[in-house]
Amino acid sequence: MRLRNKSRAKTAEARKQKLLSLLQKHGLGIYEDLDQGKFPQFVIPSRSVNNIVYDKKLRQYILGSASAIRSARNMSQLRSYTQLAWLAFFVNRLVKEGKSSTLRDIYYSSQAFSIDFEDQPESDNIIVDLEAVLSSPREEFHIFPEERSSVFGDLTIEYTVRGYEGKRVNLSDHPDGYLIGPSLSSAELVDTSAELVIAIEKGGLFTRFVEENVHKKFKAIIVDTAGQAPRSTRNLLRRLNSELSLPVVILADGDVYGEHIAMVIKSGSANAAHLRELTVPDAKWLGVWATDIEKYKLPTIPMTEADVKRIYDLQKDPRYQEGIWKKQLEVFLKLKRKAELEAFSKYGLTNITDKYLPAKLEESKSL
């Protein structure tokens, strides 16, 4: 057992205070503008395609220097300016009172304040705007998506949410795993015996892994990413990697989307180019690789046209220009076929945990 309760115990509280003071600073700015008869404005880093660049040093997409001004002076921006001001106001309440919300909840909450979002995508966009303005992910605002992924393994956490302060829980206590929700996201990572984090794309296999005692056999914390990993999950993976120094490996379907799920965990998405701390640059993609399909003689299905197009698209991405990432795309394109993680069931239900996983973990050491 390793104990890694570093002096960071109060990092969550510190981040909260930092956010609150930033919000207040913005509030004061607006207040003074209004009082002096000036039109208040927000400076929002531009998220247009032209302003998203790949930073090789950071190994993720980041925003360039361009920014847009949303001003109350411009009639066509007045409404969205007010929405943004409202969101800052609402987030301030959430964070201060230690309450959590979801993307959908934000959309509905707005109605009580005469802030009319036309639909949820509009309110989701305003949330991203605030993320960019404050350079913080929405999880810091206590805003979470509806869909949640899970985590299981020997990891002790300490809650910081109101009413649970100081309470500790071990994440192997419940066989279904723990939802990566607001309270878990804000919890301090206290202690673990694990030596590895396995992120897996599918809930079904996550359960199988728990049943098969993968966490014990491989001394692993298992994370269900439920498809493309939500940001809170990516943030947790990063913290497991950086705070507890655990290596992260990824298992996804044997297709171009699986490969990209791994890539997003490793180096982020263009959608979140305005945010940091969501990437695990050292994460390793275990599989299923295109080359595994032939090597393990996996049952396959043919790719669709969209699959093929997606390959061509990714081939233009700077992150796919070298190594395993480049090679596997080429093989996928050659095969024009894909395999799911469940394909290993052909050789028995435990084949993936007994044979494939050990072999790939071994292989990954040389990556």
Partner: protein, 613 residues
């Protein structure tokens, strides 16, 4: 319809029209009733226009037996305050077909005075009832004629003629005809109301078969200037017209008969004796400037033949051949033909040459066409590569074609003289449109005159938007020579131009409360059919309509964007009133202040500033 000074002439029998009455719009009881109304009302308005009398028109349609179902017999009466018609012309004017006063190159509503007689003819055919015409032309006596038409002979048969005292001029025509008012009623009411729109200086009253009165009072007291008869415009002349014009301009060698010789003697003052050729020429030289043109020609010929009056009596001049410089004559005494050389040095040579070959091209252009001066003529000759001194009578066929072609293509001619046209004018049109539609916005334009195939025309157009106009989409009111066009809308050139317009470019959307009034004035409207209801799409006409419409549409767009800006300002004010207090509320809590900031100033500023970015 007529006056004492106008000349009437009989040009064709009524039989033809009796057989072909469909052509003139008398195909069925519905159409016939409508056409009859039109013809009489238009004649009445034309008569008033010509004498510059502000028209006062009364139209009434009464069923002979209202109990009967349609189609049935109606009495149609149209009464005007025009100049009336000299009683001696009345039987012919209303009792024969194609007897009219409307010939010549100027604008009038009706053509050839054909329609009114057709209506009378139609009434007689369907009901066997006579026409009643009451007229006062001298402010003293009113003549009343009751007449039938003798169709075969194209002659009036007067059944009754009475006179009584009267104080005012005017004309009233009343016929009995088979009609269908239940079907024609809508069109007739439209016709009357639209006529009042395009004739705002007229007062029109219509009493329908149910006894309901529609009164359209006079909106303007001034009549538009009257049209005049004019010369053709060069752009509108083809080879055939040119040929005819040339024949009109150069003189024939006069026939030398006894009467002519008497005339020559008289003008020379040599009636008594028989002077020698030399005496004749000496006298002629003295009196040359007083001699008429034909006399000068006779004398010129006599000089070359060296003959006296006795001799002149015995010959016939057959040909003056300028090309070969010869005069050929027939001698009755000798019964043989002689040719005499022409001396080009002789002073009489030019006289003969001019006569036979007509005037020079330069003179022809300046004298025979409207608005062509010597400078333009010279430029044109250069353009057409024709010599200005060329005699038009000596032009070859090829040269004629080249001339006609160049006349079409030369673009430095002034626009046709519109004085033969009688557009309504922008002010009366504008007043008519305002009164008629009571719109929120209206604009009118009168384009400068243009020409198609030799006929000048002027396009006048008005546009009206909003106000009392219903939101039922664009409606087009078409007029030609102050006549409303109600039938065959689909194939009309005005509709074509309107429909080709992209209204969204002019900020007009959906089913706009929009009206377009189009008025084409021309000495000849290019109707597609004899029914005179739709105008053909001549390119020249289409272009003028398009320009007029674009001008008006742009004006409308300015109005619309002004309107839009006002709406926008209102929207702005609403937005800032709504959102600024909200922002203040959020900022107050965010900043941790107790009291809200003073944001009133910002609401006001937000409402006032112009649109940015």
């Amino acid at each position: 319809m007529s006056s004492n000074k106008e000349t009437f002439s009989q040009i064709s029998p009524s039989e033809f029209f009796y057989r072909n009455r469909d052509l003139a719009g008398f195909s069925n009881p519905t159409r016939s009733l409508y056409t009859s109304v039109r013809e009489f009302v238009e004649n009445a308005l034309d008569a008033c226009d010509q004498k510059r009398i502000l028209p006062d028109i009364h139209l009434s349609i009464k069923a002979v037996d209202s109990e009967q179902p349609d189609p049935k017999h109606y009495v149609l009466t149209v009464k005007d305050n025009g100049p009336g018609i000299d009683p001696k012309h009345i039987p012919l004017a209303f009792g024969t077909v194609l007897y009219g006063s409307k010939f010549g190159l100027k604008q009038a509503r009706g053509m050839f005075g054909l329609g009114a007689t057709m209506a009378i003819l139609y009434g007689q055919i369907t009901t066997n009832k006579p026409v009643t015409v009451k007229s006062c032309a001298d402010e003293k006596t009113l003549d009343e004629f009751v007449m039938l038409l003798d169709i075969q002979k194209n002659k009036p048969v007067i059944l009754k003629h009475t006179t009584k005292e009267a104080a005012k001029t005017g004309l009233s025509v009343s016929i009995v005809l088979e009609g269908d008012y239940s079907k024609a009623g809508t069109k007739i009411r439209d016709y009357v109301s639209q006529t009042s729109l395009i004739t705002p200086y007229a007062s029109i009253t219509f009493e329908d078969p149910a006894g309901e009165k529609f009164h359209y009072p006079r909106i303007v007291k001034e009549m538009p200037p009257p049209p005049t008869v004019i010369k053709p415009h060069p752009h509108g002349v083809d080879v055939e017209t040119l040929r005819r014009m040339i024949i009109d301009t150069h003189y024939q060698i006069p026939t030398v008969d006894n009467k002519m010789i008497e005339k020559v003697r008289k003008e020379l003052g040599m009636q008594k004796k028989n002077p020698s050729p030399k005496d004749i020429l000496d006298r002629a030289e003295k009196r040359w400037s007083d001699l008429s043109r034909s006399i000068r020609i006779v004398i010129a010929v006599m000089s070359f033949l060296n003959i006296d009056f006795e001799m002149l009596r015995k010959i016939r001049i057959d040909d003056v051949d300028i090309a070969n410089k010869k005069v050929v004559y027939w001698d009755f005494g000798e019964s043989q033909s002689h040719a005499v050389e022409l001396d080009p040095e002789s002073t009489y040579y030019k006289q003969l040459a001019n006569t036979v070959q007509g005037e020079t091209l330069l003179t022809f252009l300046t004298k025979r066409f409207q608005r062509v001066g010597p400078t333009t003529s010279e430029k044109f000759c250069e353009f057409a590569k024709l010599k200005p001194e060329k005699r038009i009578g000596s032009m070859t066929n090829d040269e004629l074609v080249r001339l006609a072609d160049a006349l079409q293509k030369f673009d430095e001619f002034l626009a046709p003289d519109p004085s033969c046209l009688a557009p309504l004018g922008e002010e009366p049109l504008s007043k008519g449109v305002m009164k008629f539609f009571n719109p929120e916005f209206a604009a009118v334009i009168q384009r400068s005159a243009s020409a198609y195939s030799g006929f000048p025309f002027i396009v006048e157009m008005g546009i009206a938007y909003g106000g009392d106009i219903p939101q039922t989409g664009l409606k087009v009111y078409r007029f030609a020579n102050r006549i409303p066009l109600l039938y065959d809308e689909g194939s009309d050139v005005v509709l074509k131009v309107v429909n080709e317009t992209d209204w969204s470019r002019y900020k007009v959307k959906g089913e706009p409360p929009l009206v377009i009034v189009s008025h084409i004035c021309s000495t000849r409207i290019p109707y597609k059919t004899v029914g005179k209801e739709n105008v053909a799409d001549r390119p020249e006409l289409e272009r003028e309509l398009k320009n007029a419409l674009q001008y008006l549409a742009r004006k409308l767009a300015v109005h619309m964007s002004r309107q839009g800006m006002a709406d926008m300002a209102k929207k702005r004010a609403n937005l800032y009133t709504k959102y600024v207090p909200l922002i203040a509320q959020f900022a107050t809590e965010l900043s941790g202040k107790k009291k809200e900031p003073n944001y009133k100033q910002l609401v006001r500023m937000g409402s006032e500033i112009e649109e940015q970015i």
